[in-house]
Symmetry: D2
Subunit: 182 residues, 4 copies
């Protein structure tokens, strides 16, 4: 039987991005029947509606990866009290052209880590508005506004002991949510 394929979208391009580290760590918490695949969004052009008839190869690749996924996982930092432009750019690309969005109908989850938990909370509020419109069925609770404290990641890049229970529970709830929708 084939694995459930979760497309993971990390909203930061920074090499040492906390949210990318979090995505790496989450992938190791998934059960054997679920695979997390990170989707590249750093090679996309800036979205321009004039290109809707001839989407760039990177856009077509992104759309194919989303279309092939059974669930969506968004990890967002906060830039200026909202989601990064780079993440919104990816959301815009894969929603186009009109009527050809690949987001619709999929189950999703939203979480994030930032230096203060407040940052990702504000970003996630905007992201939930956008995903509702894109017809992604986003897990409501538990919320996950993670704070990058000392020891959040251990030396091997796993979730440190103090937060592991919380994060494992979030992953379990997210996967149950995905399975209920497919």
């Amino acid at each position: 039987m084939s694995q459930i394929n979760i497309a993971v979208i990390v909203g930061s391009l920074r090499r040492d991005s906390l949210n990318r580290k979090l995505a790496d760590a989450l992938a190791r918490l998934a059960p054997p029947d679920v695979a997390f695949h990170q989707v590249e969004i750093g090679d996309l052009p800036l979205y321009n509606q004039d290109d809707d008839g001839a989407q760039a190869p990177s856009v077509l690749r992104l759309k194919a990866e989303i279309a092939a996924a059974q669930g969506l996982l968004f990890l967002t930092p906060e830039y200026n009290r909202s989601i990064p432009g780079v993440l919104k750019n990816a959301l815009d690309h894969a929603s186009r052209p009109y009527g050809k969005s690949v987001w619709g109908g999929k189950p999703g989850g939203v979480l994030g880590i930032s230096v203060g938990a407040m940052g990702t909370a504000l970003a996630q509020q905007h992201l939930r508005n956008i995903l509702a419109y894109l017809d992604v069925a986003v897990l409501a609770q538990p919320e996950a506004f993670l704070q990058a404290k000392e020891g959040f990641f251990d030396a091997d890049g796993n979730i440190g002991e103090a937060s592991r229970g919380f994060v494992q529970n979030w992953v379990d709830r997210f996967i149950a949510h995905v399975k209920r929708h497919i």
Copy 2:
């Protein structure tokens, strides 16, 4: 005496963008002591924090144009119930590196046109959250959620008769707001 310089940021790259047409038309409604300059955002890279120490020439140009302006005018379409990724990308670039944002302390205005007025309204709600954080003093009222009805623009690209009074009043209020802050 020198003119007041308003940097105009249009949130769409489309050649025939309604918001770009609106920006063109607004520029003609300004009094002689105020000049509106559109700022290019389509040549920016995707923001990546790793580049904060060596911002691209297009980013430095954007920041110089914002820094030189006495007021800011944002025209935003709605993409997926929020502002376009391309606009957020520009906001992110010019807010960085930490402590070197060029947005802070300037007076601003927000408006937009969309096929249904609801679209730009939802986008403007997010944009106001972001601009508050960037310390832009945004004109509160009047709001301008413009709807691209038949005849909104006349044959010469000016605001058509039915909407001219409303739009001229908005421009007058915006300019009074800018002058009160400088």
Copy 3:
């Protein structure tokens, strides 16, 4: 076999409220196995945390009605670009005391009618943020930002011909969403 019970919460106390008229009309579009019951929120006190240990009879009644429902339907007007205080007050009461919220885990739908469709759109954006926290699984699409045009209601208070198809489809999708969750 018993009917599916949908608790309907109307965010306005006005006697001739458009959203109450809409709630009345929606109830007639439900199939025989689904019943819509409007929940009174106009007799609640203002929420005060000091009363958490001794909730008023009207609060206990509200909580019992929500607890007994298999689905939740929110009809919200817009007051000052958000949901009415009276609706938020009801949401707050039934979420308390801490750990005793009755909202969690239920499927829900959000719609509304206003003079301009933009009004309810802005209110619904805030309402969705709140309901996500309350762990209500809100139908993402279709959105319903209804505009109170001439003829929206017919002489008998039913949805007029021009909008009936759209509204019936919304109700069908909402009921399918509820059934998927119970």
Copy 4:
């Protein structure tokens, strides 16, 4: 010369409300030419548009106090990721009837304290949307998302040493903002 009168609206009715304690402490940080007056909102009825022609005495009192103020200070806790219904109810009352809002044109400030700073941050995001519509010129920066840590208040109810500098600076900036607008 008369004092500048700031109307202070606390969004919680709880007797030992953290935000009320904060309001009390802030009042002592004001310079001699500025007076902070707390406005009662716990005696208001639930807003009902049918009463617009005959507003209750408590509503008329609230409106008179707001009308007499030169500046507005909002202290909001977070209830369910937004502002309390009781605060929204007060905002709704004093905005009515149509054309008779008393909020418009006044300078304002928004801050709040909660157990996690994230709570008040999410509430303030909604409050800023509402106040923009009500034409309140809200101070953009500095933000104040205060966290109720041990020692935030000292034994006399003043701001404790660790936070005093931050809060005094916020008050100074807020008062400068009010003075610039009157």
